[in-house]
Amino acid sequence: MNAPEQMKQFRHIGTRPIRPDGVDKVTGKALYSPDFKAPGMLWGAILRSPHPHARILSIDTKKAEALPGVKAVATGKDLPTLESLVMHVGEGASDIVDISHNCLALGKALYEGHAVAAVAATSPEIAREALGLIAVEYEELPFVLGLEEALAEGAPVLHDTVFTKGVDPKPDKPSNAAMRVEMGKGDVEGALASAAATVSGRYTLEPVHQGYIEPHACVASWNGDGQAQIWTSSQGHFAVRSLTASVLAIPQADIRVTPLEIGGGFGGKTTIYLEPVAMVLSKKSGRPVRLAMTREEVFRATGPAPGAVIDVRLGADADGALVAADVQFLYHSGAFTANDAGAGVSSAIGHYRIANTRVVGTEVLCNRPAAKAYRAPGAPQVNFAVESAMDELAGKLGIDPLDLRLKNAAAEGDPQTSGLPWGRIGYVECLEAAKAHPHWSAPLGAHQGRGVAGGYWGNYGGPSTVNVSVAEDGTITVATGSPDIGGSRASMAIMAAEVLDVPYEQVRAVVADTASIGVSMVTGGSRTTFATGMATVQAAEEVKRLLCERAARMWGVPADQVEWRSGAVACLAGEAQGQTLSAAAIAGRSFHSGGPIAAVAALSAQGWLPGFGVHICDTEVDPETGHVRIVRYTAVQDVGTAIHPDYVEGQIQGGAAQGIGWALNEAYIYGENGKLDNAGFLDYRMPVASDLPMIEAVMVEVPNPAHPYGVKGVGEVPIVPPLAAVANAIHAATGARLKDLPMAPDRVYAALHPQG
């Protein structure tokens, strides 16, 4: 479905060619992180804390070092002492000291699973045996897992160096409140007091994991001359380089990171866990070292998305116009200061026009693994609360829930939560498309209900480098620094082929290592098709200009007497008037006409726009068991322009499925002892094929005027609306308003049978 301004006709944009890396991936040839081996490689393993909070009194590694086959042992003391430095590499900022201490604990273990020592040996069996020979003396400390418990007077404080950021004046004592973010305007209390209708509620969510199927792994080789190589999959090999170099206090150019294929990330692979440890083990042993996590380690020691406690109050006029919103929430930071609260604040209510608002978010430290980015980090939690409250408000006012949203929906020029005006956003278009979709008016069966929710994510632009080069036969290589996590090689090839007006197969896109292309930010923030795409277009345009210049030189005519036409240069004047030269003809002579033809675009992409989505969900609730079945699901999203619609739909479908899992099943479950009880895929239940129906992705195209082809980011938005869409559908089916996730059968059953 296209918005009216989408008039441009394209040759490649919007087509669905097969991805260039496809055959390798369906035949098992593609090399992912755990597949890589280096000659002479040692096998590493990591010893992890069995306690949720403990002082490390001593670590005795002598017996492990004496085991035949063990070549190196490392502890936190092998990493250099660093000054606090906040680094912006992924989605949000992290202090390099925290990243270092998360790679290997120093002084205290802050969660069950926190790395405390590592070994490298000649076989995985010996490495595991050596772990058992490391003697760690712990002094167990009181621990805290819950949000409100962590903020209570007398709670165990994780870090005596953390004084709540964002509070003026600075608090006089350290606490677990790592950061407080507040935005707002007007008179919230006054407006709520005079509102015709109000709703209020407390919503809770547990931490959930990104759930990528590829566990973290890397191989590092660090030579005595200081130069090193790392082979790993990540969402950004430049981030791996800068973070690893910073943790080890060495020059970035001394590390060459080669990106391997990445088996899913969803934000969770924008940081590092293993690389500095593998580097230290490699330096000590003089050999390449491989570290790889088990699934259990992934659950216990890598970043989940934060759980939350969220209090919401909304007020509206009798006709449904929102007059006030008050949203206050606590997010789990885990063991180190995370950054989801800021994004949560800016993602809470900005999709509506509301005169009086207060949004306050607090990051709370607790003895859980450090929270990390997960697809639209910080947005789904608060959106669940706000969009559930909107549904309740619609019921109270007797207004159709889509009409209530349409009445209040923000459009271009309306203020965001920050006060800045929205650009060319497409929320209204999405709501209208949802209302017009046959799903919205389809009949429902017994025990079925329909819910809707809207949401958004800010997206991002930022730094990308792309090199477009012409081979001697006129074929084109596009090299980027952006890991391809779901088809971006195809979208880059499409954009370059569009610029050059050549066949898609004439352009091949690759992901280059850190020594072969300039710095590029992570594949995250829904930025790659936008920002790296912008660099691809810019570099391809320069290549086109160079080809024209060379052709003019070959014909002996001024440069303005040639023109790019149908993938070749046409001569407009002189003896050669009417002749054309293809890229192959020009490139074949390039060594004699000025040298190879290539162009680099290195830019920091500006003008990104947020994406908006509206999801419609039908559920069927079994009153006997409390089981919720998703019967039908439609996800409408403003995608700007879909470069490769298959992969845009795929992002929307995958994000919706993750959101459905978050709504119905997924949660970190801890025992009384502070240890994770469900650190595996059997007990941490992600959706499987039989849990889901087809997910209809409806692409609304409201192009971004700042991008040559109108791109807006698409990857993160689709996980934002599902939580409330499912909850609202359960309410419609049963009359029960569930405010605590996951809405697992026991909770739904209890809500349906309040008397027990």
Binding site: V26, E125, E649, G654, A657
Partner: protein
Amino acid sequence: MSKIRVSTTVNGDHAEFLCESTSSLLDVLRDTMGLTGSKEGCGSGDCGACTIMLDGEMVCSCLVLAPEAEGRTVATIEGVAEGSVLHPVQQKFLEHAALQCGFCTPGFIVAAKALLDRNPNPTEAEVRYWLAGNLCRCTGYDKIVRAVMAAAADLRQERTPA
């Protein structure tokens, strides 16, 4: 501890390897034989990324001890295509964009081929339940199910809409 010598057939070729008594077949395939197409997502039989065929039965190779391969027939993702000619399941995965990161893809393709080998005309529900032992976190399964249905139609020499 001395290693165990195992004689087996992998993708139609005779193969011999030495392994520990505790080694999984997946570890031997990946680390000893260099067949890294089968992936380890969990090591506990919950994700299906290591799915292979053992004497024609679909199994998680992480749950099979390597010495159990003695005298048996192993088929992995590396043997699904005939030379450079893709199997229809592989071809439809490409045409339907049924992979994003691709890490779960080998397991899905082996499992889907096993389904179509015994049931050439599965319903959508049959496809979904057959593949319920394979986790995919990227796609929401929509395009995977469509690709398998399309491959089934292709094998039956019917045409289906994309």
